[in-house]
Amino acid sequence: MASEITRVESADWRINRRFYLKFLEGLADTQIGPLYVGVWGIFALVFFAITVFVILFGYLQQVGYNPILFVREFPVLSVEPPPPSYGLKLAPLAEGGYWQIATFFLTLSIVFWLIRIWSRAIANRLRPTVPIVFSAAIFLYAAIYIIHPISMGAWNEAPGHGLRAQLVWANAFSIKYGNFYYNPFHMVSIFGLLGSCLLLAMHGATILAVTRLNAHREIDEAENSTEGTHRAQLLWRWVMGFNATATSIHTWAIAIAVVSMVAGALGVIFSGPVEPDWFQWACRAGIVPGVIQPGTTNVAACLR
């Protein structure tokens, strides 16, 4: 207990080195910092800086170190993964080596950021819920940049590091595996993503509608709910016959967000090794509009 008190006191001590953003007054909390650095923070920061440096250096090389071209071409510049012929081998710098270095350090920095959040949560006597949910996002990242390329035997399967490059990858990846709109895991993932937007709007709107009764003080409300929370609960009970509580709405929140991320990751991992063509899967499942169920002749027109 003594060490915990020390930690909180040291945190209070660091508040003396804060500064404020005046323009946020009346909108949100204004205090910036103090940032905790720590050993994991240094690792995360240095590795992320290396990633950014390698990517930007790759961009500069591509525009012949011309700063104006660098700005003009910035949205389409990309540090691309090696061509398929290199498979999973190390490639020369100009042919994907930069991508391999950048991705390696990006992965390291993300993992150290996870450790950093975890250690800060514990140091502040919180449950590690934030890092646990963050690891679902890392799973999706790993599925795209590491697991899928390794299972297909080529780093070329991963997206390039560039603004347009990610969109080009998303577009091509969908078509390469037979149109992702027919991928059931993608369907569940999008359901979770749109559901996240819906739940976020519902929760934000509900709490904002009862801030005069301090319903936004959710840690207190989770312990002992008061009038504001009761009114918010009754709103949804009367509208749709169901209501959450001040605690359980946040469980619903992380559940739908995690479903979105994990289903998305599985959809990427299964594309190729498990199902090379999701349109064919939809044909076999008999769910393509206007095509007759398997077992009848018309399904042959659907299969290619």
Partner: protein, 284 residues
């Protein structure tokens, strides 16, 4: 009923009726549900619309199978054919049922929003919930009514079916060269992913501290946690404002990206032609 519910029901009974329509009508509950005038409208049109959809898709569809679940996923009511234009056709083969179901759905959605406003007022709450739902309804109205009217064809609307609307979306993405080049689509998607981020961060944050009062854990621990790892803690009201506006702007920008396609912009790649012609780097 919840333990505290009776008091609020009595309070709601005493609240005045809808200010615009003067309706304190049908103020009663069925089980957990409040009915009210707008509840009845929503129920009526919702049942008619959904009933017609199931009748056409699951029972009548010529390509239906023996499996109702498959019929549900695969079935559709197609949008009117292009030659119908904006006329209200009564020809079932040219999109009558699409128009009917569309009308019923739109009325249901708006009634549902009014019902939320009604309940918000009875509970002496702000109108944020019906406003947020109204923004969601605006997406439906933009895609199914405003954009088809601007282009002069009901056929621009999407077919009413689970897989069918995915097919429509897939094709729509390539009709204006490629939707990935649509900047408002990009902003909408960024805010959609942002919604996932804000939702998971907020949910996880509250769950990490809820029920730990006895150990002396309060919202102050959360503030220090965020100052520590991020350098900024947005605060208890701030996070809900961020949530509200992230979700609403996501939908509003998506409306913009859709309504511009085919009306003002035919090719989202060509849309970017101005970029290389900016005077700043015109010499290059």
């Amino acid at each position: 009923m919840l333990s505290f519910e009776a008091k609020y029901r009595r309070e709601a009974m005493d609240a005045p009726g809808m200010p615009l329509l003067g309706l304190g009508l049908l103020k009663f509950w069925v089980g957990r549900f409040y009915i009210g005038f707008w509840g009845l409208v929503a129920l009526l049109f919702g049942l008619i619309g959904a009933g017609i959809w199931f009748w056409r898709v699951v029972i009548l569809d010529a390509t239906r199978t023996g499996n109702p679940l498959i019929n549900f996923v695969r079935g559709q009511i197609e949008a009117p054919s292009p030659d119908v234009g904006l006329s209200l056709t009564t020809d079932p083969s040219k999109g009558l049922w699409w128009l009917v179901v569309m009308f019923c759905a739109t009325v249901t959605f708006i009634a549902w929003m009014m019902r939320q406003a009604d309940i918000s007022r009875m509970l002496k709450m702000g109108y944020q919930v019906p406003i947020a739902f109204g923004v969601a309804v605006s997406a439906w109205v933009t895609i199914q009514i405003v954009r088809p009217i601007l282009l002069g064809h009901w056929s621009e609307g999407f077919p009413l079916g689970v897989m069918a609307h995915l097919d429509w979306l897939s094709v729509f993405g390539y009709r204006f060269f490629n939707f990935y080049y649509n900047p408002f689509h990009a902003l909408g998607i960024a805010l959609l992913f942002g919604s996932g981020l804000v939702l998971s961060l907020h949910g996880a944050t509250i769950l990490s501290a809820a029920g730990k009062k006895k150990e002396g854990v309060t919202e102050h621990n959360i503030n220090v946690f965020y100052w520590d790892f991020l350098g900024y803690s947005i605060g208890e009201i701030g996070i809900h404002r961020l949530a509200f506006w992230t979700a609403l702007m996501c939908v509003l920008l998506s409306n913009l990206c859709l309504v511009l396609s085919g009306t003002l912009v035919q090719d989202w790649s060509a849309f970017w032609n101005f970029w290389n012609k900016l005077p700043f780097w015109s010499g290059f």
